[in-house]
Amino acid sequence: MLLGVAPFGLITGVAMVASGIPAAMAVLMSITVFAGASMIASAQLLGSGTPVLLVLFATLFINLRFMMYSASMRPHFAHAPLRWRLAVGYLVADNVCGLSLGRFADHPEDPAKLEFFLGVGLVIWIVWQLAAAAGAAIGAGLPAAWRLEFAAPLAFIAMSVPFIRDRAMLAAALASGVTVVLAHGLPLRLAVPLAALTGIGAGLALRK
């Protein structure tokens, strides 16, 4: 897992600076927002002069999956004190939740779930921040011929494909992929939310 966090953090830092975000701002954003996919997309949108409200709308859709993670963490942490639930909330991310859900499924009665989640979250957070800061520092210094910008979609492929474990999930991904390509010409970057809704609908329709 950590092997995946470092390159993705690095790419995010590089991509943000390459889109015109100052390096210090990229580091600050990485700490406050802490969501790579949405930061790469938003940096590109901001770089091309998209209004802030639209950038926030894109962020909302790209990070909607955190709400799903939040819901899946709730049964484990519903009775923890508020300050720890806030800490868990801040650390909710693809790999942190992936690792924790796997562990909780194997050890449902583990009394130290909170410690496990916070430990994994903290390690991943530190690795991520160091990698993103390194990426922001390198910035546009990497040769364009390496085509490292392609690492961003590759990281998203790596995150999404493991979710596909049954027919309904495959339908959700396929419907979303086809829709986003067909709807590419729509204004206001509406293709992504439209594709997401179509994918969710397809998954719900095909579920057992």
Binding site: A37, F66, M68, G89, A155, L174, G177, V180, V192
Partner: protein, 104 residues
Amino acid sequence: MSLWAAMIGMTLVTFALRASFLLLPPGVETPEVVRRGLRYVPAAVLTAIWAPELVFHGNDLQFSLENERLLAGAVAIAVAWRTRLTFATIISGLVALHLFAWLI
């Protein structure tokens, strides 16, 4: 200025999504359809982000075997499917991209 507004807004939006269900009082039940629908969000949203990067060059649809990004993406999907490893997926996809670009 708009950069600061974007950052503050993104921080609030993202934290609200993450903390959402964790901050609900213990007694509150999540509606079944919401829970079911949320299951499909990661697969649907993440796919919508990467799919255009493989087939579009600007606004041109390039759905052909001469598009090295599409071919490299197919390799990465296969590797992600088999290994479930982020690092292996990124490296194999980048290697495939350069290999196909050189071949085509």
